[in-house]
Amino acid sequence: MPLDTAAIRRQFPFLAPRVDGQTIVYLDSAATAQKPSCVIDALTEAMKTSTGGVRRGMHPLSERATTLYESARQEVARFIGAQPQEIIFTKNATESINLVARSYAASVLREGDVIVLTLLEHHSNIVPWLQLSEEKGIAIRWIDIDDAGRLRMDEMEEALSDPRTKLLAVTGQSNVLGVRPDLATVLPMAKSHGVRTLVDAAQRIVHTPVDVRALDCDFLAFSGHKLFGPDGIGVLYGRGELLRDMPPFLGGGSMIRTVDRAHFLPEDPPYRFEAGTPPAAEAHALAAAIRWLTALPLQDREAHAHTLLSHAIERLRRVKGLHLLGPGTADEQCGLISFTLNGVHPHDLTDLLGQRGICLRAGHHCAQPLHDRLGITASTRLSVGLYNTIEEIDTCVHAIEEIQQAFQQ
């Protein structure tokens, strides 16, 4: 059954008629998703009724906040097939990846070890490893893509079988090309060579079911805000047996058992990795977002994204001088398509589209090594969400054509 887009749109306040009469066509969900009312309500409700120090205090408000926070952890654990104690709440996917770099990798990897990255990675799955590599003399090995953006599996196999390779950090879905590396092949391959794995699921989690046991990865990171949840909350899944031996990340309150003038004894996971007062209302709202999303049948969500994207690809392909990046099919790309347009810089294009209320992202999308590989400095990205319609895609493509004409006159 197709998604009832009209009913979904009614749940999103950003689509409500505006006083200035401008309608918003939001085609930038890959940057951050708009929030449905139930998520906004969950956030305000938690702040109204359950503001209290999480796990700090005996009073009823503390207890309520703690209950919200820990039930959110259980909700997230169910969502990705993990145990609650394997779920660490962070600020976003970026912090989750930094946690793995600072805690796990910094304590386990040695000079001369190799970390494998792919050219599809977002800066947040690159820079923490470059920092570590500078500090500890760890080498980074890059896996190339073919011209359509598919990972070079021959290079992957070779890199993973190198005995110096200790960690693979790979995206679950490119935020520029929309391609999803074949994790079902890559992760077991890594495991068979004793290589630990981290999956950056920031994009993938929105479109594709993620089960950490089935994937059999060691770490997996994502942000709440792309998943229709609030800003300021992210998730790190870590395999229980690895978390047990990892040193703390940030130090402070809540992550310790005891402190004296000279020492501290850290808490057990996941608390060991959650220093300071945690975001209880945000966790609660993230759980609401996950419930909202998963209540919509997966098949319908997939069909919706596929229909919109194939339509966008087909329409964009007909624009003269427009070059699609990636394979250029909705079967291989998920939720987004990036492109360049002869004679119109992405910043000009998105600025002018923005003036018409049409929101697309332009730039290098925090993926400079990928743009270098593609031989461009910037691109424009159209990404779709559950609230988008075919008509919105048409409005956008039509506007692109008009802007292009104005530039060519």
Binding site: H345, P346, H347, D348, D351, L352, Q355, A362, G363, H364, Q368, H371, T377, A378, I403, A406, F407, Q409
Partner: protein, 139 residues
């Protein structure tokens, strides 16, 4: 950006002084890291006057038009006059509203020019913050 501002698109399509000088006194490159736009400015300096200016680079209509307009305004000025150019002056030259997200596009040319002159004078380059100055408040 204002598309009805035909002069911006004109300068973008037909930039002025976008030439490579064979014997410049100074050549200097700057980049807007947030978008990758890059400019190279070349100056021939004779007795503290800008005798010739050339530039090259890639980028959006705003950054390219601003550089083109700026280079026109520099024909036969003194270095001191060029150094006195402010962010406000460049925005006035463009004569279109420049929002916060396009400010760096508009000022990349000025930033490159000022740092070319500073390189000539063996002074340390201005930071982006110094070039943008109080343009953000005065807008």
């Amino acid at each position: 950006m204002d598309l009805s501002a035909e002069h911006i698109l004109d300068h973008y399509r037909h930039p002025h002084h976008k030439v490579w000088l064979e014997h410049p006194t100074v050549t200097h490159a700057e980049q807007n890291w947030s978008c990758g736009d890059a400019l190279i400015v070349q100056l021939c300096i004779e007795d503290d006057r800008i005798a010739a200016i050339g530039w090259s680079g890639e980028g959006c209509a705003v950054s390219q038009a601003a550089m083109s307009l700026l280079s026109e305004s520099l024909e036969d000025t003194t270095l001191t006059e060029a150094e006195a150019l402010s962010a406000r002056d460049v925005i006035d030259l463009l004569a279109i509203p420049i929002g916060a997200r396009r400010l760096k596009c508009a000022l990349l040319g000025l930033h490159t020019l000022q740092n070319a002159i500073r390189a000539f004078r063996s002074l340390p380059p201005l930071t982006w913050g110094e070039t943008v100055g109080n343009a953000e408040q005065t807008r």
